[in-house]
C-alpha cells in the first residue's frame, strides 16, 4: 500500500511538474513570510524582520533544488529533463554540434563499414550449416605448399573417412573449368566436380530441384548439372522450367537437375557443379594427390582431436603403403580459418586504421569539448552556486554528450548503410568473386549493436571527461572573471596546451595511418619487377586419354609453339607450368645436392619447381644472371639441366659458383636423375602473398613435359587481339583441346591483387578522412584560440600597432605552438611506426617521407588556421573588437 502511494506520488510530481514547482515556491514563500511576521511580532522593523528571515532561511533556490532532488529518485524524469536541456544547448551552438556530430559520425561510420567487412568476410565467409565443424582435409608431404596445393589421393580420402570415425560426413571435389555453349558461341565458366555428398556436407539444399545421387557418380551417368542461382538468373533468365532441360558443357549434353540458393558459391568462384565421376582405377589411386576434400566433424570431435586422429591414421597408411604414402600426413584445418590465412593481417590493419580514425575523431572531439568547457565554466559555476551537486552535474553532462553520441551514431548508421552498399556494388565482380562472403557484407544486427555500444562508450567517456575537467573549479573566482575575451595567464597556457596536444595527436595518428596506406600501396605494386604488358596468357590442359606419353605431349606443344610464333605480330611465345600472379601456389619439391653429406631428414632443402620452355625468360624479360638459358637442344636424350633462381643459389650455394653443380629431385634415396645447373635467373614474384624471392628450380619442358601448361605470347601491342588466332591454332592441332583461363597477363596481375586493391582504396579513403579530421582539429583549436584574442588585438590596434606586425605575431605564435607539438610528437610517431612495423611485418615500414610530409602538412594547416581569424580580427573596427565577446 505504502509503495503504491509512493509511486503515485512520484508519478504525480513527474507529470504535474508545473503544479509541483508552484507548490514548492508557495511553501517556501509561506515559510519566509511567517518568519517575517514572527520577527515583527517580536519587535523588529519590517525591513529588519525581512532581512533576518531571509538570512536565517539561507539559499531559497538551494533548498528548492534539494527538495526536487528528493523527488528525483527516479531517473526517468531527470534524464528527460537533461536530454531536453542537452538538446537545447546543442541547438544553441549549431557550429559546435555540426562539427562534433560529423566528426563522430565519420569515426563511427568508418568503424561500421570495416566491421561490416570483417564481420562478413572473416566471421561469416560462408553461409553453411555449422560452419565451425567444417574442415578442409589434405595430405601434407612435409613441405608447406600453400593453400592451392591442399590435395588428397582418392583412395586415401576414402580410407580417412571410413576408418577414422571422426567425420559425420565427407566430400571430395575438384575445380574444373567449363565452356558453356550459348547462342552459337562458348563462354568459359568456373565450376566444380563434386562427390554426391557435397551439398549435404555443406548443409545447403538446392533452391530448385535436387543435389546429386550416388548413382550419378558412375562415369557415363554423370551428365547432370546443378547451376548457381546467379548463372541461372543471368544466363537462363531465371527460367522456372529449367529443371530437366539440357545444356551444353565442353561440347557434351548435361541435364539441369538443380539450382543453388542465391549467393552460394563453393569453392569460389564456382557457378556450376557436376558429379565427380571416377573410374575404379582412379578411385583406387593412392599415388596422385588429385582431389580436394571437406569433412564435417562429428559433434563431439574437436579439430585438434580430428587432426591427431588423421595423423595417426596416416602413420598406419604409411606402413601399409610405404611406396606411395611415405612422409605423407593428413591434416585438418577449419574451413573458416583457411580463409584467414593470407588476409587476416590485412583485415587487422584495416580495422586498426578504422580504429585510428575513431581515435582521431575522439581526440578532436575531446579538444573541442575542452575548449567549449572553458567557455562554459561560468555556467557550471552558476549551476553549482544554485545547488547542483557533483552528481547532478555529472548526470547533466553525460546526458548531453550521450545525446551527441546518439546523434552521431544515427548519422553514422545512415551513412554506413549507404557506404556499405556502395562498397559492395562499386567494386568489379571480377575482383570480388574470389572473396567468399563478399555478397554478405551488410549492416546487420551485430554491426548495429557494435555501433550502439561504441556510441554509448564514446558518449559516457566524454561526459565523464568533461566533468573531471571541471573538478576543483573555484566558484567565486570564475563568476567574478570578465568575459571570454579576458586573457589570464592560466587560460592562455591552457589554450596553448590544447593546440600542442592537438598537433601531437594529429601527427602520431596521421603517421600511423600514412604508414598503413603506404604499406598497401607497396603491396599493390608487388609485381613491379614483372613486365606483364602486351602478354597474353592461355591455359591448355591436354586430355589424358589421347596424350598418354611424353612424346605425344611434346609433339603437340612443339607444333603449337611453332604455329603460334608464325602468327603475324607475335614476338615471343613460351610455356610455363605456373605463370606469375596466377594466385595459385607452385608445386614444391625436395632436392638433394650431389657430393654433400646427407642432411637430416627434416633439413632436406626444398624449392619451388617450375617447368618452362627456353622462350619463357625472354618473353617476360626475366634477366639471366649467369650461365646460359635452356635451348632447343636440351632434349630428353641429353644430359638433364636446370636453371635456378638467384635466391636459391644464394641459399644453397653460398660463396660458391653453382654453375656445373648437380642435384636431384627428392630425398637422398630417390631414383631421380642428376640435374646440372646451367644458369642463374633473377627472382620473380609468384603471388602477392609469397616473399619477393622464392627459391625456384626451372626444368626445361622437353626434359620434363606435362599435360597442363600455360601458354604465354608477347605481341607488339593489344595482346587480347590474338585470342582467336591462338584458339584457331589449337583447334587445328586437336579440336578436342579447349583453351581456358584466357586473359592478358596485365589483367591477371590486376585480378590477382583484387582484394588488396579493395583494401587499398579503403585505406586511401581512411587516410583522407584522417587528414580532414586532423586538419579540422588543428584548425579548430588554433583558430578558436586566435579568435579569443580578438579583444587583445583590438587593444593593440587602438594603441597603434601596425597590422602586418600583429599578423606576424599571431602567425608566429601559431607556428611556435605547432612546432612545439611536432617536437613532442615526432619521437612518439617514430616509436609508433616502429611498433606497427613489428606487428604487421612486411607491410608497414617506417618511412621518413611520410613522417616529413605529415609534419609539413600540419605546419601549413596551422598557418592557414592562424591567418584567417587574425585577418578577420584585424579588419574589425577596434571599438567593435574591444566590445567583442
Amino acid at each position: 500500500m505504502r509503495q503504491v502511494q509512493s509511486i503515485v506520488h512520484r508519478l504525480r510530481t513527474l507529470f504535474r511538474k508545473q503544479v509541483f514547482e508552484q507548490e514548492l515556491s508557495d511553501e517556501m514563500r509561506f515559510h519566509l513570510e511567517r518568519q517575517v511576521e514572527e520577527n515583527i511580532a517580536s519587535g523588529m522593523s519590517p525591513q529588519e524582520a525581512r532581512r533576518a528571515a531571509t538570512r536565517e532561511f539561507g539559499g531559497v533556490e538551494q533548498v528548492k533544488e534539494e527538495c526536487r532532488d528528493t523527488r528525483r529518485a527516479n531517473l526517468l524524469e531527470t534524464l528527460y529533463q537533461d536530454l531536453r536541456y542537452g538538446g537545447r544547448m546543442l541547438r544553441k551552438s549549431p557550429g559546435f554540434t555540426t562539427v562534433a556530430v560529423l566528426t563522430l559520425a565519420l569515426g563511427i561510420g568508418a568503424n561500421i563499414a570495416i566491421f561490416s567487412l570483417v564481420n562478413a568476410l572473416l566471421l561469416h565467409p560462408y553461409d553453411f550449416r555449422e560452419l565451425d565443424s567444417l574442415v578442409r582435409i589434405w595430405e601434407n608431404r612435409g613441405i608447406d605448399e600453400g593453400v592451392d596445393a591442399r590435395w588428397i589421393a582418392p583412395a586415401d580420402a576414402y580410407d580417412l573417412y571410413s576408418k577414422t570415425r571422426v567425420f559425420e560426413n565427407f566430400t571430395t571435389y575438384r575445380e574444373k573449368s567449363f565452356n558453356l555453349a550459348r547462342d552459337g558461341g562458348v563462354e568459359p565458366v568456373f565450376g566444380c566436380a563434386v562427390s554426391s555428398s557435397f551439398f549435404d556436407v555443406l548443409g545447403v539444399s538446392p533452391a530448385l530441384g535436387r543435389g546429386f545421387l550416388e548413382t550419378e557418380q558412375q562415369p557415363g551417368d554423370d551428365h547432370v548439372v546443378v547451376l548457381s542461382h546467379g548463372l541461372w538468373q543471368q544466363r537462363f533468365g531465371g527460367d522456372s522450367a529449367i529443371l530437366g532441360k539440357s545444356i551444353k558443357l565442353n561440347g557434351l549434353e548435361y541435364t539441369v537437375i538443380g539450382v543453388t540458393p542465391p549467393k552460394f558459391s563453393y569453392p569460389v568462384p564456382s557457378l556450376l557443379w557436376v558429379p565427380l565421376a571416377l573410374d575404379p582405377a582412379q578411385t583406387m589411386n593412392r599415388a596422385d594427390l588429385s582431389l580436394m576434400a571437406l569433412g564435417r566433424l562429428k559433434h563431439d570431435v574437436s579439430v585438434a582431436k580430428a587432426d591427431a586422429a588423421l595423423a595417426a591414421f596416416s602413420r598406419q597408411l604409411e606402413t601399409e603403403y610405404p611406396k606411395t604414402n611415405a612422409g605423407r600426413t593428413a591434416t585438418a584445418l577449419q574451413l573458416r580459418k583457411e580463409q584467414y590465412l593470407y588476409t587476416l593481417p590485412l583485415f587487422l590493419l584495416l580495422q586498426a586504421a578504422a580504429g585510428f580514425v575513431l581515435l582521431l575523431a575522439c581526440a578532436n572531439l575531446a579538444n573541442l569539448m575542452f575548449a567549449r568547457m572553458i567557455g562554459r565554466q561560468k555556467e557550471i559555476a552558476m549551476r553549482s552556486a544554485l545547488g547542483a551537486g557533483p552528481r547532478r552535474l555529472t548526470q547533466l553532462f553525460v546526458s548531453e554528450t550521450l545525446l551527441l553520441a546518439v546523434l552521431a551514431g544515427t548519422a553514422a548508421i545512415t551513412v554506413s548503410f549507404w557506404s556499405v552498399r556502395l562498397l559492395r556494388t562499386s567494386i568489379s565482380q571480377d575482383w570480388t568473386k574470389w572473396v567468399p562472403g563478399w555478397d554478405g557484407i551488410q549492416v546487420d544486427r551485430t554491426v548495429l549493436s557494435f555501433t550502439i555500444l561504441l556510441a554509448i562508450v564514446v558518449g559516457l567517456l566524454f561526459g565523464l571527461a568533461t566533468v573531471l575537467s571541471t573538478n576543483g573549479l573555484n566558484l567565486s573566482k570564475t563568476l567574478k572573471e570578465a568575459g571570454p575575451g579576458s586573457m589570464t595567464r592560466a587560460k592562455g597556457r591552457l589554450r596553448s596546451t590544447l593546440v600542442v596536444t592537438q598537433v601531437v595527436f594529429a601527427l602520431v595518428l596521421l603517421v600511423c595511418a600514412g604508414l598503413t596506406i603506404q604499406g598497401f600501396v607497396r603491396l599493390s605494386e608487388v609485381y613491379a619487377g614483372l613486365q606483364p604488358t602486351d602478354v597474353l596468357k592461355v591455359e591448355i590442359a591436354l586430355p589424358e586419354k589421347s596424350y598418354a606419353t611424353n612424346t605425344r605431349i611434346t609433339n603437340f606443344y612443339q607444333q603449337f609453339l611453332h604455329s603460334a610464333v608464325a602468327i603475324p605480330g607475335v614476338k615471343e611465345t613460351a610455356l610455363i607450368s605456373n605463370p606469375p600472379a596466377s594466385n595459385v601456389d607452385s608445386g614444391t619439391t625436395f632436392f638433394t645436392i650431389e657430393n654433400r653429406p646427407a642432411p637430416k631428414t627434416n633439413e632436406t632443402p626444398s624449392a619451388t619447381l617450375e617447368i618452362a620452355t627456353p622462350g619463357y625468360f625472354p618473353a617476360l624479360h626475366i634477366p639471366l644472371l649467369a650461365g646460359r638459358l635452356f635451348s632447343e637442344a636440351d632434349t630428353a636424350s641429353v644430359e638433364q639441366v636446370v636453371l635456378i633462381s638467384r635466391s636459391l643459389a644464394a641459399r644453397d650455394w653460398p660463396g660458391e659458383d653453382p654453375l656445373g653443380k648437380r642435384f636431384k629431385l627428392g630425398k637422398p634415396d630417390s631414383n631421380e636423375p642428376w640435374l646440372k645447373i646451367i644458369g642463374i635467373i633473377a627472382d620473380v614474384r609468384q603471388n602477392w602473398w609469397n616473399p619477393p624471392a622464392l627459391p625456384t628450380i626451372y626444368r626445361p619442358f622437353l626434359q620434363a613435359p606435362q599435360r597442363g601448361m600455360a601458354f604465354l605470347l608477347r605481341s607488339g601491342s593489344n595482346p587480347a587481339g590474338y585470342v582467336s588466332a591462338v584458339r584457331e591454332a589449337i583447334r587445328q592441332l586437336d579440336p578436342d583441346v579447349s583453351p581456358r583461363g584466357i586473359n592478358t597477363l596485365e589483367g591477371e596481375v590486376t585480378d590477382s591483387i583484387g582484394i588488396i586493391r579493395i583494401m587499398g582504396i579503403l585505406m586511401g579513403v581512411f587516410g583522407l578522412v584522417a587528414l580532414m579530421l586532423c586538419s579540422v582539429g588543428v584548425y579548430g583549436v588554433l583558430s578558436e584560440s586566435v579568435a579569443q584574442r580578438t579583444r587583445e588585438i583590438g587593444i593593440r590596434l587602438a594603441l597603434g600597432a601596425n597590422p602586418p606586425d600583429l599578423m606576424k605575431m599571431v602567425l608566429g605564435q601559431a607556428l611556435r605552438l605547432t612546432i612545439i607539438g611536432l617536437a613532442i610528437a615526432l619521437p612518439m610517431a617514430f616509436a609508433a611506426g616502429r611498433l606497427m612495423g613489428a606487428v604487421v611485418f612486411g607491410i608497414v615500414r617506417l618511412d621518413f617521407i611520410v613522417l616529413a610530409g605529415v609534419a609539413i602538412l600540419l605546419i601549413l594547416v596551422a598557418l592557414i588556421a592562424g591567418f584567417f581569424p587574425a585577418r578577420r580580427a584585424l579588419k574589425i573596427d577596434p571599438v567593435m573588437a574591444l566590445r567583442y565577446e
Binding site: Q5, S6, H31, E37, G58
Partner: protein, 109 residues
C-alpha cells in the same frame, strides 16, 4: 544555527514524525515546535527541514494537504499516514533502546 549534518538524518525524521503526530502542521510550525519543545537546543534549518519533509512524503510516511494557516494564509500541512504512524512507533522504541544503551555505556565507563 545548527547545520543539517549536526542532526543525524534519521533523528530529524523522527523529530518531524513525532511533532506532527498530534495534529497536521506546516513546515514553519514544525521548526518552531521542535525549537520550543527542545528549549532552543534543537534548531532545525530550513535547508534540512524541507528536503526531509519532501523525502518523507515521497516515502509515504507522511502526506500533505493545503489548508488555511493561523494567520489566514494558504499553507501546506503535513500529517502522518497510517504507515507513518506505525513507522513512528517502531522508530520511537528503537530510539529509546539506543539512547538507554548509550546512557548505560556513558555511565559505566
Amino acid at each position: 544555527m545548527t547545520k543539517p549534518t549536526d542532526l543525524v538524518q534519521g533523528t530529524l525524521d523522527l523529530l518531524i514524525l513525532k511533532t506532527i503526530a498530534l495534529e497536521p502542521m506546516h513546515g514553519w510550525a514544525i521548526a518552531q515546535r521542535i525549537r520550543h519543545v527542545s528549549k532552543n537546543v534543537l534548531q532545525v534549518n530550513q535547508g534540512a527541514l524541507y528536503p526531509a519533509l519532501h523525502r518523507l512524503e515521497q516515502q509515504a510516511w507522511i502526506q500533505s494537504k493545503w489548508g488555511e494557516s493561523e494567520n489566514n494564509r494558504r499553507a501546506k500541512y503535513y500529517s502522518l499516514t497510517r504507515a507513518g504512524r506505525k513507522y513512528l512507533q517502531a522508530e520511537e522504541s528503537n530510539w529509546e533502546r539506543l539512547s538507554s544503551a548509550i546512557g548505560l555505556v556513558l555511565k559505566t565507563v
